[in-house]
C-alpha cells in the first residue's frame, strides 16, 4: 500500500494530485457507504431493471454462498487507467463455466456474467469497462466441478487531467 501510494504521488507529481490520489485511496472505504445511496438513485431513474445490487448481493447470488478461493483465475487490468471511461480488462479461467466480473467501487458494481457454451474456444473474455473511481475489480469463476475461484485487481483511475 505504502509503495503504491508513493508511486501514485510520484505520477501525479504535484500538490493537487496528492490530494486527488489521497482521496481515491479512500475509495474502497467509501464504496460500502455509497452503495445504498446508489440504489435509491437508480430506482428514481426508473431504470428498466432495478438491479443496483451490492457487491455482496452479486456474489451471494452467483455463488449461492459457497466458499470462494483465490487462484485458478487470471484477471488482467491496468494498474493505472488514463481514463475511467474505457478500461480494458481480460479475465481467463480455464475450466470455468461462468465468470462474474464486478467493479466494486462503481455505483452499480455489476459488469458482466459470461456463460461459456459448448463451442467456446477458451474460458477467456476481454472487454472495456467504466470505472467511476480508483477501486478493486473482482472476477469470480464458477468452475465445472462446482467450486468458485476469485481474483482481484486494483485499478487507479487518474483524475485531475486537462478537461478539454
Amino acid at each position: 500500500m505504502e509503495l503504491n501510494r508513493r508511486k501514485a504521488i510520484a505520477l501525479g507529481a504535484g500538490g493537487a494530485a496528492v490530494v486527488a490520489f489521497a482521496g481515491s485511496a479512500l475509495a474502497q472505504a467509501a464504496t460500502d457507504a455509497a452503495a445504498p445511496a446508489a440504489d435509491a438513485a437508480v430506482n428514481t431513474a426508473a431504470a428498466p431493471q432495478t438491479e443496483a445490487k451490492t457487491v455482496e448481493q452479486w456474489i451471494e447470488e452467483f455463488t449461492g454462498g459457497a466458499e470462494v478461493t483465490e487462484g485458478g483465475i487470471t484477471l488482467t487490468a491496468p494498474e493505472i487507467a488514463e481514463n475511467g471511461n474505457t478500461v480494458p480488462i481480460e479475465v481467463d479461467a480455464e475450466g470455468a463455466s461462468e465468470i462474474l466480473v464486478l467493479a466494486t467501487g462503481n455505483p452499480t458494481p455489476g459488469v458482466t456474467i459470461t456463460k461459456f457454451g459448448e463451442a467456446a474456444g477458451s474460458r477467456k473474455i476481454a472487454t472495456r469497462i467504466r470505472l467511476a473511481e480508483t477501486q478493486d475489480i473482482t472476477a469470480i469463476a464458477k468452475m465445472d466441478d462446482g467450486s468458485f475461484k476469485q481474483a482481484t485487481s486494483n485499478v487507479k483511475v487518474t483524475i485531475g487531467g486537462c478537461g478539454g
Binding site: P48, V111, A119, G121, S122, I125, A126, T127
Partner: protein, 109 residues
C-alpha cells in the same frame, strides 16, 4: 431508442478443423448508464445493451449478461472452437427491446 446502432464483428474467413479462433465484436451504442445527469440536471434513464450471445451452427459460444459498467460501444473479444464450417450468429439485446443481429461465415481450410 439509441440511434446509429451498428454491429460489427471480426472473424477469420477460415480455420482448420478443431482450431480455436479469436473473434472481436463491437456494437456502436451509447450504453447510457442511468448514472449520468443530462443538461436539465435530471438523471438520463438507463439504456444499454444488456445481453450478447454468440452461436456457431446453433451451438452456444458465449452468452453474456452486460451491465452499465460496460463502456460505450461495447467491445468484446473471445475464443471459439471451430469443428466444422458454418455460420456464426451474433445477437445484441437492447434495453428498449431492439435486437441487433450479425452473421459471419467460416470455412474449414
Amino acid at each position: 431508442m439509441a440511434e446509429n446502432v451498428k454491429p460489427r464483428v471480426k472473424v477469420p474467413k477460415s480455420a482448420s478443423a478443431g482450431e480455436v479462433i479469436t473473434i472481436k465484436s463491437l456494437i456502436s451504442h451509447p450504453m447510457e448508464s442511468g448514472q449520468r445527469k443530462g443538461p436539465d440536471g435530471n438523471l438520463v434513464p438507463r439504456s444499454i445493451i444488456n445481453r450478447f450471445t454468440v452461436e456457431l451452427n446453433g451451438k452456444n459460444v458465449i452468452d453474456m449478461q452486460l451491465e452499465p459498467a460496460i463502456s460505450t460501444n461495447p467491445y468484446i473479444e473471445f475464443d471459439a472452437k471451430v469443428d466444422e464450417a458454418g455460420e456464426f450468429k451474433f445477437t445484441w439485446y437492447d434495453d428498449d427491446g431492439s435486437v441487433y443481429e450479425e452473421t459471419a461465415e467460416i470455412e474449414i481450410s
